[in-house]
């Protein structure tokens, strides 16, 4: 598969879907997907944070860690940078655009330890993406996360009205839905 930007986007959004194929960010995927609106807001916040985080991580890796030969430090540096970045983004949004902050604000701190953010930064480094490619990959991954969580929220709002056998209620039926969604997303592997 050639490394054009579109193919990177599709690759990260659908073929290697971050939640359903790579299992990153499962906690919030299962926890916040109860209703449609919070899921969409969380998706928006994740798009915002992952795109910025992958840009910053890519710059840091290419211009600081790699020239100094410190690439084994990437895990420590990335996690600290992501934690700090989320704080800065939160403060910046609070000051400059209260409307956006109101919509995404409460979800921003939740993302700090969401493994998807660190996962994207590390995958970008592993795939040797340059700056632009990292941003596109980050955006695609986050878009894939949003698609998955909004779809699951839609399914769950229907399941709430179903009469399920008792042992299936709660987590099992959500996991089974996720499994079926994952099977569907495996079909995208034909695109690569």
């Amino acid at each position: 598969m050639n490394n054009s930007l579109l193919s990177i986007l599709i690759q990260n959004m659908l073929i290697n879907n971050v939640v359903l194929i790579q299992f990153l960010g499962i906690c919030s995927f299962l926890g916040v997907s109860k209703q449609m609106k919070p899921s969409a807001s969380l998706g928006g916040a994740v798009i915002f944070v992952i795109t910025i985080a992958s840009a910053v991580a890519s710059l840091l890796y290419d211009f600081v860690l790699k020239p100094l030969g410190l690439d084994y430090m990437k895990t420590i540096v990335f996690i600290l940078v992501i934690a700090a970045l989320v704080q800065v983004v939160e403060m910046f949004l609070k000051k400059t655009s209260p409307a956006v902050y109101k919509a995404l604000g409460i979800y921003l701190p939740l993302i700090t330890t969401n493994c998807a953010v660190l996962g994207v930064a590390l995958t970008n480094v592993q795939n040797e993406y340059n700056f632009i490619e990292s941003i596109v990959a980050g955006f695609g991954t986050a878009l894939g996360y949003t698609i998955a969580i909004v779809l699951l929220a839609g399914i769950r709002s229907r399941i709430n009205e179903a009469d399920l056998p008792k042992p299936l209620r709660g987590a099992p039926i959500v996991l089974i839905c996720a499994a079926l969604m994952s099977i569907a997303f495996m079909g995208f592997a034909g695109l690569s």
Binding site: L20, I21, Q22, F23, L24, G25, I26, C27, S28, L30, G31, V32, K34, Y72, M73, K74, T75, I76, I79, L80, A83, P109, L110, I111, T112, T113, N114, C115, L118, G119, L122, T123, Q126, K166, P167, L168, R169, G170, A171, P172, I173, V174, L175, I176, A178, A179, L180, S182, I183, F185, M186
Partner: protein, 283 residues
């Protein structure tokens, strides 16, 4: 049994981590790596043991530093400790266990964001001495390893017909390949929880999917805590909600009463005015 546990805190910690508060099967923590690397029993075992190593050492280090780290910066400090240990484990596996390193890939550095580790640091190691903290880490780590290996065993057996790489099912039985792929992970964990539910084993799963776990374990008050604390947090939430409702009702009542009083006063004034007017007219 209970007496025995009280007598030996180390054994109690091991039992707690393995069975009573098994991080994956009971507390539903660390689901990301549990789903991702349980493709075979040996991968699950490898991931479990790597996490156990990080967990034991991070618990010891954080327990030793617990009086030195100021409260305000404790989470970043914990993250630095854990990230350093994870980097060490990553380099060691890369050097001595290249096959495992290739199989686990990105999930080794992602041990940093495993809820269990920061959760234990916050809930246990930062409040207890290094010896019991080490055993707490060992118990929790072994519990995690047990769950991952169990899921790995099931997936490998159904999906590839092997156990730890040895052919078990006869060749004539066609393995169901999807169980070692991504959907199988969701399926197997769904099945495990269904069995637990059917047997009446209490888990935190309802809380995870209904009350909304946010994935922010480090600062979440109810994550990784004991079942007791979970219940307490829930009661607290309920109590606060009720109080808020009572306050709202009281406020509404007060407002209504004030309004009524005002109305009554107005009516009285109006009546008085009318009476006065009437008197004036009479005069």
């Amino acid at each position: 049994m209970k007496k025995n546990q009280n007598q030996n805190p180390y054994l109690e910690r091991l039992f707690n981590g393995l069975i009573k508060e098994n991080p994956v099967l009971v507390l539903m923590l660390g689901m990301c790596p549990a789903l991702a690397v349980s493709t075979s029993a040996s991968n699950g075992l490898g991931m479990g043991l790597s996490t156990t190593a990080v967990l034991i050492v991070s618990n010891i280090v954080i327990s030793l530093l617990r009086k030195l780290i100021p409260d305000e910066v404790r989470l970043p400090a914990f993250i630095v400790v854990v990230a350093t240990l994870v980097t060490i484990v990553e380099l060691v596996t890369q050097a001595y266990l290249p096959a495992l390193y290739a199989a686990l890939g990105i999930y080794i550095p992602l041990i940093v964001v495993n809820c269990i580790i920061l959760g234990r640091a916050e809930a246990y190691a930062s409040k207890n001495g290094p010896d019991v903290s080490a055993f707490d880490g060992l118990g929790m780590g072994l519990g995690f390893t047990f769950a991952l290996t169990l899921a790995g065993l099931i997936r490998e057996l159904i999906g590839a017909g092997t156990i730890f790489g040895n052919q078990v099912l006869p060749e004539s039985v066609e393995p169901i390949g999807i169980f070692v792929k991504a959907p199988g992970a969701f399926m197997v964990f769904a099945l495990i929880i269904i069995v637990q539910n059917a047997l009446g084993i209490r888990t935190r799963q309802r809380q995870l999917v209904e009350d909304g776990c946010t994935g922010m374990c480090a600062t979440c008050k109810i994550s990784c805590a004991t079942g007791e604390a979970v219940q307490k947090a829930r009661d607290e939430k309920k109590r606060m909600e009720e109080e808020a409702r009572a306050a709202a009702i009281a406020a509404a009542k007060a407002a209504k009463e004030a309004k009524e009083r005002e109305k009554a006063a107005q009516a009285a004034a109006a009546a008085a005015g009318a009476a006065k007017e009437g008197k004036e007219v009479q005069q």
